[in-house]
Subunit: 145 residues, 2 copies
DNA sequence: CCGTTAAATTAGGCAAGGCTAAGTTATTTG
DNA sequence: CAAATAACTTAGCCTTGCCTAATTTAACGG
């Protein structure tokens, strides 16, 4: 069983790293320091630092100059944040918001949404998907400047 | 006309301060350093620092040991963030989410929602308010754990 | 009007997370 | 396989925003 070595604070920053790492792994099969850096648009040095910290916190296993793999704990957290991201994205897409705007807003909001709120939005999204007439009216209203 | 002296970055922190300051002014007629500190649950020293910075950025006028007033720019920003806060709160209330949870989530999310998204949620909120049957179904679904 | 207390400010420090520059390790390629 | 390049790490620094402790100013009660 995984042992919680360090008090994990789950900062937004940590969530961002985990999310990108899991996404890279899903997409290309691995996540190198340079990939993470490019993806987050920060320096490689910053990534090295954080990756070492995430290792110390037990969220991933890291071997210097070699590579990393997420631990069970880390992967669970990563999946969790990706799920929040996806759900918010789906919801806003339904409302007809521009993709760029969605990406920006979701990137900020995803760290601040708790499970009950997430569940409510989940239910709302699937209910709305069954109400095309209502959605059409909404979009017309919103698009008008 | 107001002159933008300093590149205003509008960090979440700045928005939090402005929001609380405007709320205090609306509620008790003024916002002292000690009030702001209590309201944000941070030290008076931190507030003094930030208030001096907000003065330098032209968001409020501050006289040492005396008091402060929001500038037009500052008040506009404050009203803007309060509006986002209120709108998100109304929306989540409609979904039947617990007040405590709403407060927590909104406090985090309000800094990351752009005007188009805000408008869409505004439209959705008022449309949903006209759909009590749909809302009832949603709440039932969400409350079931 | 003076002493006490409350409010505000200053000084100095700390943690998170970013950066650049310089050095080290891995990998690629002629 | 050796040199060049790419990837990575380390060291040292910066900014934001918070803190405590000490000091200064304002306000209030006798």
């Amino acid at each position: 069983m995984p042992v919680k070595t360090v008090a994990t604070r789950n900062s937004s920053t940590v969530e961002d790293y985990l999310e990108r790492i899991l996404d890279l792994i899903n997409t290309k099969g691995y996540a190198r320091v340079v990939d993470i850096a490019n993806s987050l648009k920060i320096s490689q040095a910053s990534v090295t630092n954080m990756v070492q910290r995430l290792d110390a916190e037990g969220l991933l296993k890291y071997e210097k100059y070699r590579g990393l793999v997420l631990t069970t704990t880390g992967e669970t957290l990563a999946r969790n944040i990706m799920h929040r991201h996806q759900l918010l994205t789906d919801f806003f897409k339904l409302l007809g918001i521009d993709e760029q705007v969605i990406y920006h807003d979701v990137e900020g909001m995803e760290h601040h949404i708790s499970p009950p709120t997430l569940r409510a939005l989940e239910a709302l999204t699937s209910a709305l998907a069954r109400q095309p007439a209502l959605l059409a009216k909404l979009r017309k209203q919103t698009d008008a400047h």
